[in-house]
Structures are given as structure tokens and as C-alpha cells.
């Protein structure tokens, strides 16, 4: 198992910056997710860790040893690729055994290890088949077994679940997490799926445009996003964002306004999550009308037309429900309101909502 560190690592391809200078450390046995939209530099980071790409600048450290010049094959890592990258002409047994060939493992020992890791991911009955004869989920397991068979010190997962259907994805999520906890391998998962990151990882690294936006626990990122990007990227249904202009303690939003805890000048964006909006009939809060109603099972999503703009509110099944076109009022949970500087897109952390006018 290994402790991973990136020191000022950057990557430039022909004048295009794929990764800005980045610092990062991952503890021994930790499960970290790198989350971001496509093109944000997350896969570049993964391939730099694997040694497939050389960083343009900076140092990569495994257990405090600089490994910049260490070949991928000498890094003792396992990767699961998005495409699984199984060797099409080899059967499953040979696929899983492939890494052991180069470790000079004795044949009987290798066979035992192959069986063992096949059992770990429940594919022992497919060992004599070719990859093309397996379903996506089974191929995914083979890729995992191949990555694990050599007992790597670092496991890298590159969007491993994105080609699976929804049900399978859910069960693989928990399976991978259980496996990781049992084997205690330092694991880095690259994904664009927030649900994957939130459910599996101990810590999430949120990236955008080649830069790390925020690092923190899933709860941290959800409740205290440090920028507009993190706030809007994490959470489904997404956070409500309303743009306005502040002068003194007043923030003008559309046709309405709200009162802040202290004076601010300039453009601000108010962020509030759908579940932090309460709908009532009491004449208190923002005057609204119910637009679309989307039942989602345990909750109902209401699209509200309000004086400060369109809002989405999530109401639990147990709370009173509303009909389309009904006139209602909505209230915000004050401590859940976030304010971002519209220009810099950063959180203005000392601003709070005091009252709605």
C-alpha cells in the first residue's frame, strides 16, 4: 500500500494546458474520487500517476520516493480502464494471468492467484471464455481481477462504471467499495458521475478546467462548496442559483430582494439547494406560484415561479403537497443559503441571509 503525492505537477500538450500545477496527497489505504466534467484534467492526472504520461513539470511521489522516471510496469499499480482494455485474443484466465507473467510468478502459484482473484469478483466460471463472450458487467469484473491479481500498491479506476446499466452500476459501486475496504488498497477513482464519487469515496477532489476546485469529504463538498462550479456540479437535482446585484445590506434579485447580514457591493449569486426550500400557505416568505410538479417517489420536485426568479424545491412525501397553479409562499433555511461572487465565482463565506423582503 502506498501514500501518493503530487507536487506542482502540470501537463501541457502542444501549448494546451491539460493540468495546471497541482498539489495533492492521498493517504495510505484511502479511497479518493477525482470528480469533474470531461476535459477537466482528471484522466490526465490518473495517467500521470500511472506513469503513462510524463508530467511536464513537478514531481510524483509514491511513499516519499520520486517516481517520475519509473516506468509504469515498475510502479506496481493496477488500472481499470473505462473500456476495460481486456486483451481480445486471450481468454479470461490469460487476461488475468497476464500481469503475473512479467512478475515471474511460478505457474502453479499464478494459477492459484488467478483463481483467487476471479473468485473475489465472482467470475470463476468464465475463465475459459473470450472477453467478447462476456457481458459488460462481467468484463468489468475481469478488468478488476486483472488489476488486483498482482496485489498493487495503488489501484486506479478510470470511469470504471460508466458503460454499465443503472442497476449493475449500483451493485458494482458497493462491491468495489467493499473490496477496497477489505484489501485496504490506496484507490483513486476518476469519474464524472457525482453519485459514484459521493457514494464510494472517502474524499472527493473536484476538478474543473485543469485545476482542483476543492478537496473534501462528500458532505463537505455538498454543504460547503467553495465555488459556483462545485456547488452546481454536485447535487441532483442541482442547486438553485439566482444572480443579483448587492448594494449595502440589500441584494436585489429579479423583482424582489433579500437582506444580508452585512453590507456588500457588486454582483452576487445566491445558491440554495432544493431541499432547503420550504413551501407553506402562511403569508410569510417569497410569494410564488407552483409551476411544474415532478413526482420522484420519495420526494416531489416543484418548479416555482417566484418574484426573485425560478426555483426548484424538493418536498418529502410526508409533507403537504401542492397542485399546479396554486399560490403559495416559500421560505429558505437561512444557514443553508450560500453567496458567491458572480465575477470570481468564489464563495463569499461571511455573508448570511437575514430576511426576505
Amino acid at each position: 500500500m502506498a501514500r501518493i503525492e503530487l507536487r506542482n505537477v502540470s501537463k501541457v500538450w502542444d501549448n494546451v494546458v491539460a493540468l495546471e500545477p497541482t498539489n495533492l496527497s492521498v493517504a495510505d489505504g484511502e479511497f479518493v474520487a477525482v470528480l469533474g466534467p470531461s476535459g477537466c484534467g482528471k484522466s490526465t492526472t490518473l495517467f500521470i500517476l500511472a506513469g503513462i504520461y510524463a508530467p511536464s513539470k513537478g514531481e510524483v511521489l509514491f511513499d516519499d520516493q520520486v517516481v517520475n522516471d519509473v516506468e509504469p510496469r515498475d510502479r506496481n499499480i493496477g488500472i481499470v480502464f473505462q473500456s476495460y482494455a481486456l486483451y481480445p485474443h486471450m481468454n479470461i484466465r490469460d487476461n488475468i494471468r497476464f500481469p503475473l507473467k512479467f512478475k515471474k510468478t511460478e505457474k502453479e502459484e499464478a494459477m492459484r492467484l488467478v483463481e483467487e482473484s476471479a473468485k473475489l469478483v465472482h467470475i470463476e466460471e468464465f475463465l475459459d471464455r473470450k472477453p467478447s463472450q462476456l457481458s459488460g458487467g462481467q468484463q468489468q469484473r475481469v478488468a478488476l481481477a486483472r488489476a488486483l491479481v498482482k496485489e498493487p500498491q495503488l489501484l486506479l479506476l478510470d470511469e470504471p462504471l460508466s458503460n454499465l446499466d443503472a442497476t449493475l452500476r449500483m451493485s458494482m459501486r458497493s462491491e468495489i467499495k467493499t473490496l477496497q475496504q477489505r484489501l485496504k488498497i490506496t484507490t483513486i477513482l476518476v469519474t464524472h458521475d457525482q453519485l459514484e464519487a459521493i457514494t464510494m469515496a472517502d474524499r472527493i477532489i473536484c476538478m474543473s478546467r485543469g485545476k482542483i476546485e476543492q478537496i473534501g469529504s462528500p458532505k463537505d463538498l455538498y454543504e460547503n462548496p467553495s465555488s459556483l462550479f462545485v456547488a452546481s456540479f454536485i447535487g441532483a437535482p442541482p442547486i438553485n442559483l439566482l444572480e443579483g446585484v448587492a448594494s449595502q445590506e440589500k441584494l436585489n434579485l429579479n423583482k424582489g430582494s433579500i437582506i444580508l447580514n452585512h453590507a456588500h457591493q457588486g454582483k452576487l449569486t445566491l445558491g440554495i439547494r432544493p431541499e432547503n426550500i420550504k413551501i407553506t400557505k402562511d403569508i410569510q416568505g417569497i410569494k410564488s406560484r407552483v409551476g411544474l410538479v415532478e413526482p420522484m417517489g420519495r420526494e416531489t420536485l416543484y418548479v416555482l415561479e417566484t418574484t426573485i426568479g425560478e426555483l426548484r424545491a424538493l418536498v418529502p412525501e410526508s409533507a403537504p403537497q401542492w397542485g399546479q397553479g396554486e399560490d403559495i409562499f416559500c421560505q429558505f433555511e437561512k444557514e443553508s443559503c450560500l453567496f458567491f461572487d458572480t465575477e470570481t465565482e468564489k464563495l463569499v463565506s461571511n455573508l448570511r441571509l437575514v430576511a426576505i423582503e
Partner: protein
């Protein structure tokens, strides 16, 4: 739609889509063979007159043509040598080398290897005639004299090697192009995975690249075998089959008998051997290289 008109439709579609191809196939591939068989049973000679129907040509082939077996042997060595050293092996080496260097450099080297293919045959042949000139004017001898090695007359001392070299340097480019595009179509992730799994440069070629281009490899082998068996233009231009008959491959022998000696009927009979050999070679490779499967689906193996 009623059944009869559907049937009619099928017939029309067949005629429209396959008709032209079948017509061409018949005109240029099947008809010549039939004509050839016809001529081989006559005594068509320089006067272009038929006098009688006869099996004399075949009797001569079997009993009196001492040149025949020797020519077949030369053809076998020539085809095997050119394939083994150049058209498959060297083509593969070129494609592996040019896909493992930076893209622009690789493209440059591939273009260089394509040059002989692009230049007119006569120019390429003239260049070789100058290169192998047995006096100190020849390029090879100039290089050799620099190294202090005595002059070398390739045409007379190693004629078979000469025709293999001449055809191989041109022939390798076809394999190179096909193999390069096949290698390019292997998903990058397979190479990444292999590198992470511990494979080095040679292991990657052995375990990943070669198995993935198995089909293009057998295609080139089959195709080039057939094309080498019937082509003789460079041999004709450079050695004209000589010295003596040392580089007279079978196709050239047929040409000489028919068109230089004017024994058209005998040439036609000899050409039948070539046709038979071609069909035999195709059948053998169909059997052993699983060409049937190769011709059915696109066969560059990615899952």
C-alpha cells in the same frame, strides 16, 4: 406487396447490384481462362493460324520441356524469399518502427519507402541496373570499394538475390501501409494496460500488437503470394530472365515461350499451370489461414 412482384423485385435487384460485377468478372477473369484452355489444345503459332486440335502441347510439357521444373523451382524460391524477407517481414518491421517513433518522423519514413512504388517501373529498373553495375561505376561497387571489398557482380554471382531485393524493396510498402493502419486501429488503452501490467517493448509487440493484426498479416501473405507468382516486369526489365535462365520465373517463362518464340499454343498450355497453381495456393491458404472467416467480417481485432 404480392409474392410474384417480390420475386420479380429480387431478380431485378440481383441484376442491378451484382450484374455489372459479374459481367466484368466473366469478361476479364473467366473468359480469358476459357480462351486459354481452348488455345492450349491447338497449334497456334507465329502465323496466328489454327491447323489442328491436338494434345501435343501437354505431351511436350510433360516429356520434353527440361526447362519447366527448373523454372518452377526458381519461382518457388523467388516467391518464398520475397515474402519471407520483404513483403511480410520487412513490411511488418517498417510498420512497427514507424508507429513507434514520433508521428511526423514515421510518416516521413513511410513516404520514403513508398517512393519506388510511385516511380515508373522503368526508372526504378534503370536505377537498379546502375546500382549493380559490375564495374567501379556501379553504386554498390563504389560503396564496397570504400570499405576495401573487391568488386561484386550481383547479376552473375547472386541473380536470385537480385530479383528478390528488387521486388522486395517495392513490395514491402504494401504490407507496411496495411500493417500500419492495422496497428493504428488497436485501441490505445490496450497498450496502456499492457505497460501497466509489466510488458516491455518486445512483450507488447509479441502479446498485443501481433495477435491484434493477425488477419491483416494473413491477408498480405495470401495476396502477395498470388501477386508475386504472376508478376515479372522488374525481372524482365533488369535481368530478362538471365544470366542464362537463372532468374526466369514461371510467368516470365510463359511470356518468353508465347511472345518471344511465337509458340502461342504452348504458352497457353504453360499458363494453365500458373492458373492451377494460383487456385491451389488460394485453396491451401483458404484452408490453413481461415481466409473464409477473414473475408466475412471486418477483421482488425478489437472487442
Amino acid at each position: 406487396m404480392s409474392a410474384p412482384s417480390q420475386k420479380h423485385r429480387q431478380v431485378t435487384n440481383f441484376a442491378i447490384f451484382l450484374g455489372p460485377a459479374i459481367l466484368l468478372l466473366f469478361l476479364f477473369f473467366i473468359a480469358p481462362v476459357i480462351v486459354d484452355i481452348g488455345i492450349s489444345f491447338t497449334d497456334l503459332g507465329r502465323d496466328l493460324q489454327f491447323h489442328k486440335v491436338t494434345t501435343a502441347n501437354f505431351e511436350r510439357m510433360v516429356t520434353r520441356d527440361s526447362r519447366l521444373t527448373k523454372t518452377l523451382g526458381i519461382t518457388f524460391l523467388y516467391v518464398l524469399g520475397t515474402l519471407a524477407f520483404f513483403n511480410v517481414t520487412f513490411g511488418l518491421i517498417l510498420s512497427l518502427a514507424t508507429t513507434n517513433v514520433p508521428d511526423k518522423l514515421g510518416a516521413f519514413f513511410r513516404s520514403v519507402w513508398l517512393l519506388p512504388r510511385m516511380s515508373p517501373s522503368v526508372v526504378y529498373a534503370l536505377m537498379w541496373i546502375w546500382m549493380i553495375d559490375p564495374t567501379e561505376r556501379g553504386l554498390i561497387n563504389q560503396v564496397l570499394s570504400f570499405a576495401g571489398i573487391p568488386e561484386f557482380d550481383m547479376m552473375n554471382q547472386a541473380p536470385l538475390m537480385l530479383i528478390i531485393l528488387v521486388n522486395g524493396f517495392i513490395g514491402a510498402s504494401m504490407g507496411m501501409i496495411i500493417f500500419t493502419s492495422a496497428i493504428r486501429s488497436i485501441p490505445e488503452h490496450l497498450f496502456f494496460a499492457a505497460r501497466v501490467d509489466g510488458a516491455g517493448f518486445w512483450s507488447i509487440i509479441w502479446y498485443i500488437t501481433l495477435p491484434s493484426i493477425r488477419w491483416p498479416l494473413s491477408f498480405i501473405t495470401v495476396y502477395q503470394t498470388l501477386s508475386l507468382m504472376v508478376s515479372f516486369e522488374y525481372i524482365w526489365l533488369i535481368t530478362n530472365g538471365g544470366p542464362f535462365y537463372d532468374t526466369t520465373v514461371f510467368a516470365l517463362y510463359v511470356y518468353k515461350r508465347a511472345f518471344e518464340n511465337g509458340q502461342y499454343a504452348y504458352g497457353a498450355a504453360l499458363a494453365l499451370i500458373l492458373v492451377t497453381l494460383g487456385i491451389l495456393a488460394s485453396l491451401l491458404m483458404w484452408r490453413f489461414m481461415d481466409m473464409k472467416r477473414m473475408l466475412q467480417d471486418p477483421r482488425i481485432e478489437v472487442h
